[in-house]
């Protein structure tokens, strides 16, 4: 067996250039997913009529299927929808002019929304009921109490889970290479096949992902210390 170590270094540099796209494919879905998650959580906690079962199904279905399916379904299905609408409303717009990246971001946002809603809900349920009552007892509206008192505490409680989902999505973003996105994994693939040094290229990619993960973990540990300063020395 021969491993071309200098090539690993070259590959590292080459692949690393794709980092911005990986960050985009990781962060954008998480941010949009967070908002979706809040919406879903409100629907589920308030048991909003009509939407309640729909929200439950959304969460269950997206958590129950591989992210690859979400990407493929949106990537294949959304253009059909657009083209149909274009015909009905006589748009000149064509689905082929939409960059694939957009479909990937849409799909992963939906995925993230399902996971986020579970995290947020668990966080909210973990906040002591007395906090809400205390807030309402001084005359806050339910909305104010949720936003100012319950929600910040729920997020602090959820921080470890939010870190996990970040790392999870950092890794999930690698699937995007299947629909020819040139993020870290896509770039690795190109470097590998251009030079016919597959093992070396994937070692380089692994090192990059591994490093990013370790950094994320370290950052979370720091954040956790800051955000839960009020928990220091106290029982939860």
């Amino acid at each position: 067996m021969q491993i071309d170590i200098p090539f690993i270094f070259m590959a590292l540099i080459e692949i690393f250039k794709a980092l911005p796209l990986t960050i985009i494919i990781t962060l954008v879905p998480l941010i949009i997913g967070f908002l979706i998650g809040i919406g879903i959580t409100i629907i589920r906690i308030r048991k909003v009529k009509g939407l309640y079962s729909l929200a439950n199904f959304y969460v269950s279905f997206l958590r129950g299927t591989p992210a690859l399916m979400h990407i493929m379904l949106i990537y294949l299905g959304f253009p059909l929808l657009i083209d149909k609408l274009a015909v009905t409303f006589r748009w000149t717009f064509q689905s082929t002019s939409i960059p694939i990246l957009l479909f990937v971001l849409m799909a992963l946002s939906l995925t993230a929304g399902a996971y986020m809603s579970e995290i947020i809900r668990a966080g909210i349920l973990a906040v002591d009921q007395g906090q809400l009552e205390a807030a309402e007892s001084i005359g806050m509206t339910n909305f104010q109490a949720m936003r100012r008192i319950v929600f910040p505490q729920a997020i602090a409680i959820s921080l470890p889970n939010l870190c996990n989902i970040f790392i999870g999505f950092l890794h999930t973003s690698s699937i995007a290479f299947i629909v020819s996105q040139k993020e870290l994994t896509g770039a690795t693939n190109i470097v590998a096949s251009n030079n016919l040094k597959f093992l070396e290229a994937y070692i380089a990619a692994a090192l990059i992902y591994w490093g990013l993960t370790i950094i994320s973990e370290k950052v979370t540990a720091l954040l956790e210390k800051r955000v839960t300063v009020y928990n220091r020395g106290g029982v939860i």
Binding site: I3, T65, P66, M69, L73, S174, Y202
Partner: protein, 230 residues
Amino acid sequence: MDITLIFDFFPKLISYLHITLLILVAAVAIGLVIGVVIALIRIYKVPVLNRLAFIYISFMRGTPILIQLFLIYFGLPALLTLVHIDASRANPLLFVAITYGLSCGASFAEIIRGAINGVEKGQAEAAYSIGMNEKQMMVRVILPQALVIAFPNFANSVIGSLKDTSLAFTIGVMDMVGRGNTLIATSLHALEIYLTLSMIYYGVVICLEKGFSLSEKKLQRFEGSLSAEK
């Protein structure tokens, strides 16, 4: 889009479900063995091995399954040439099983370790106080309780692995997704095929969830009856 095509594709795809499940079962079996060994190494802080175990877990937690899959696919045959074994023609299923097994091993190890550490300290002390030795304490007191703690995480991890198997096709495995891709090439109905695949995955996940939650209840009842006896 033609929804009725789903009825055509469904039997064709589900006839490959057993490959997907085979990968899952192999991965979980390999993972359990690795997981227990690694957890023991880490709990007893075996010198050197503990360090290696830590790196192994960190690496598996730190890299996407897709990258791990490629690493094994390209790396393992290269390694094996050192001992003059030619693995370049091996069934890709083998690589998939090994990759997913290694990946499961890392998560199971952490789950087991967390669960054992999660059992209240007083339990061990109580066991010693009535004269049990370390092994009795582990087997009779800690492990049964750890099992209950570990189970939900274990279930989640297995379901996660099932979903991960959807990527096995990237190294040419003919599982459901692999079969789906060949069907796409001939039928040009990709959307319907992915819809069908999603439905099958969803169905399997729901079944697994039901099964796990039933077993969990059983486990907890067992726990309850145990404590009632005391």
